[in-house]
């Protein structure tokens, strides 16, 4: 099992969170902390890059749900990118594509934030 890791980069008014490994009930609090930190710093334009994410459980998806309302209330958004088909399938099964913007590539998502401004 690969270890879960949350990494955060800042650039051009958009914060990128890189996810790696298993995002499940055990590691969900790590992502929660990462989001909470961004919100505390008033950073609401968030891209989550799932390139190295190998598994996501519903507890992991729940973290996105827990923050999306506050983020959007502050004119921001959480956009997801670079999902493997396996990870996308879970998002799709639980109906997330209706609720979140999902892009093939991180740059695309970052650009979307740019267009709005």
């Amino acid at each position: 099992m690969s270890e879960f890791k949350v990494q955060h980069r800042d650039g051009e008014g958009v914060s990128v969170i890189d996810l790696r490994g298993y995002l499940d009930a055990h590691t969900a609090p790590d992502l929660e902390n990462a989001f909470q930190k961004l919100l505390n710093e008033k950073k609401f334009n968030i891209v989550v890059n799932c390139k190295d994410l190998s598994y996501i459980s519903s507890a992991g998806l729940g973290v996105f749900m827990a923050f999306i309302e506050d983020v959007r209330k502050n004119q921001g958004d959480i956009k997801l990118t670079n999902m493997s088909p396996k990870v996308y399938n879970v998002f799709d099964l639980l109906g997330f594509p209706i609720l979140y913007e999902i892009y093939k590539d991180e740059l695309e998502a970052v650009k979307k934030f740019g267009e709005r401004r």
Binding site: A25, P29, S58, A59, M65, E69, L94, I98
Partner: protein, 576 residues
């Protein structure tokens, strides 16, 4: 098979395109593509500008899945057609009596109804509007249309099957995902011993799996449900809701609750909060908590499968919450026991290990601490070969606090006793120190006396302690009660008066704490000082040690069947 049996005026011009068409539709498994191709081919051949395809969804109900030349909003709309015809029929020829759908087709200018028959069942319809320039459909036209639709029949059937398999596959995927969630959580719950964390993980899983943003999770605390995590638009107006939830046996939809008379009010409250479903969390049929969920953001209502999943999840979580609670209770109990052990150690450390041998006096003492460790204390301090101080006291409260306060008093009395101060003066100082060192509500009943071997006088101060008995050799009984208020209540304003008695041979002083006089029997009655006095009169001539054991025996008999609630301490001094 190609329509070799159908007679055509000019067969060669029709058969080739038919083959091509058959190849195209039969090489695809994409239902949308097949239906689109059939519809467009027929419309092209017949020069028709409006047409639709309907597929059977359930008995008597069809859904418009394709529409050309018509409002695209028609797609997805249901049309109920009972007893669907199995041959090509002109809409105008169908008697409209009671058939709403006839009017529907007419209103969209559909003239011809062509059934799509697979395995002898009507799987759907293709409908066509009027032909270009008002031309009618000839018999040959109808045969060609029939051929095209029949040719695509098996392709449609295959594609329908594939769609059904895909749907079944997706449902399996979803079930698998649900099981994964339960597995993921149970794995994590097993190692988490913190109820707050269990609730957070449960919340995340609910939000993710169900896709809700309005929720409340309640737990039973001291007999009633309390919200421990929530995101609601407004605070819950009435606590009655939570009270009523305790009567739920299974997961219930708010709309179903509204139909039951006793839950109608509750359902109304829940509806205001936009709560759509309530899931009780149970252990052995007792509601220990509940999950309340709002609408699903991705649409759709809660079905039986969802409720089943939620019920499993809820019960999994509550067991973990309960385990965490029990774990912390055990931990807390352990901590308290550890603290009591420390208190007992301090207290026992303060008591003298051996009593001094005093010429022509017989002394004995005992202390039996209660389970909670009270604040009893006794001491015999040697001031000089001619002078001894006897102390007995009782600190209010129990446990470490009482033990530490007693340690304080012991330190100050041992410091003051050899300084040559009068008992009165020393008592005042100890009181002032105690007042400075204790918080509100902590005080000490205290008695001490100084025995002079030369004069055989016993000077004493009683600061609110149970007055010791002085049993004279001639049979008289006196109480040593001269003194002042208990220590630690207020700074000394007037000096503590001293009492003095002279001890003749055979006189007996018995000092005791309220653990003796207030020892309780099974009927909650005190042993009382009167009963103690009666007993002392009977045993007064015994040696000091035996007096203590006789009192202890009497207490044991009196309190049989009840636990010892306070320390029992005695200090006995007999003049020989």
């Amino acid at each position: 098979m190609p329509p070799t049996s159908t007679r055509r005026e000019n067969p060669s011009s029709d058969i080739l395109p038919l083959f091509e068409f058959s190849n195209v539709v039969n090489s695809s498994l994409d239902l949308k593509f097949i239906l689109g191709t059939v519809l467009l081919t027929v419309m092209g051949k017949m020069l028709v500008s409006k047409g639709m395809v309907l597929l059977k969804r359930e008995r008597g109900s069809f859904e418009i899945v394709n529409a050309k030349g018509l409002d695209p909003q028609l797609i997805g709309q249901p049309v109920s057609i009972d007893k669907p015809m199995r041959t090509i029929t002109a809409v105008d020829r169908i008697a409209p009596d009671g058939r709403e759908w006839v009017g529907f087709f007419k209103s969209h200018e559909q003239k011809l109804l062509i059934p799509i028959v697979t395995q002898r069942h009507v799987a759907g319809f293709l409908t066509l509007g009027g032909r270009f320039a008002g031309r009618a459909f000839s018999r040959t036209d109808k045969q060609l249309i029939n051929s095209l639709v029949n040719l695509s029949g098996s392709a449609i059937e295959k594609a329908l099957m594939i769609d059904r398999l895909k749907e079944a596959n997706r449902n399996l995927d979803r079930k698998f995902q649900e099981l994964n969630t339960l597995f993921d959580l149970s794995k994590e719950f097993n190692v988490v011993l913190d109820a707050d964390k269990v609730i957070r993980l449960l919340t995340f899983s609910l939000l993710g799996q169900i896709g809700v943003n309005r929720y409340a999770i309640c737990l039973n605390e001291h007999g009633s449900l309390k919200i421990v995590a929530s995101r609601l638009d407004a605070p819950m107006g009435s606590l009655d809701v939570l009270r009523q939830i305790c009567f739920l046996k299974t997961a219930e939809l708010t709309e179903d609750l509204a139909k039951q008379k006793k839950f109608r009010q509750t359902a109304e409250e829940l509806r205001k909060l936009r709560i759509e479903v309530v899931i009780p969390m149970q252990i052995q049929n007792q509601v220990k908590g509940a999950i309340l969920l709002g609408e699903r953001l991705r649409g759709g209502s809660y079905n039986a499968g969802d409720l089943e999943f939620l019920y499993s999840l809820a019960n999994l979580a509550i067991i973990s919450v309960e385990n965490a609670r029990l774990f912390h209770e055990t931990l807390e109990k352990q901590r308290m026991e550890d603290e009591l052990a420390i208190a007992r150690e301090i207290q026992q450390g303060l008591l003298p290990r051996t009593l001094p041998q005093i010429h022509r006096f017989d002394i004995a003492a005992s202390n039996i601490p209660s389970k909670q460790v009270g604040g009893d204390y006794y001491d015999v301090v040697t001031i000089s070969p001619n002078e001894y101080v006897f102390v007995i006291g009782d600190v209010s409260g129990k446990g470490t606090g009482a033990a530490l306060l007693m340690a304080n008093v012991q330190a100050s009395l041992r410091a003051f006793a050899p300084m040559g101060l009068s008992l009165s003066e020393a008592t005042s100082r100890i009181n002032n120190l105690t007042c400075a060192n204790t918080g509100q509500g902590k005080f000490i009943t205290f008695f001490w006396g100084s025995l002079n071997l030369e004069t055989r006088s016993f000077r004493y101060v009683n600061a609110g302690h149970n007055p010791p008995f002085l049993l004279r050799a001639d049979g008289g009984v006196e109480r040593l009660e001269i003194g002042g208020i208990i220590l630690g209540l207020m700074q000394t304003v007037s000096p503590y008066p001293e009492g003095a008695v002279t001890l003749e041979s055979g006189d007996l002083i018995v000092m005791f704490t309220d653990g003796v006089s207030e020892a309780m029997n099974a009927r909650n009655e005190d042993f009382t000082e009167e009963r103690l006095e009666q007993l002392l009169k009977q045993i007064r001539t015994l040696p000091a040690k035996q007096i203590i054991s006789k009192i202890q025996e009497a207490l044991d008999v009196y309190t049989r069947g009840t636990p010892q609630s306070d320390d029992i301490t005695m200090l006995v001094l007999r003049a020989l």
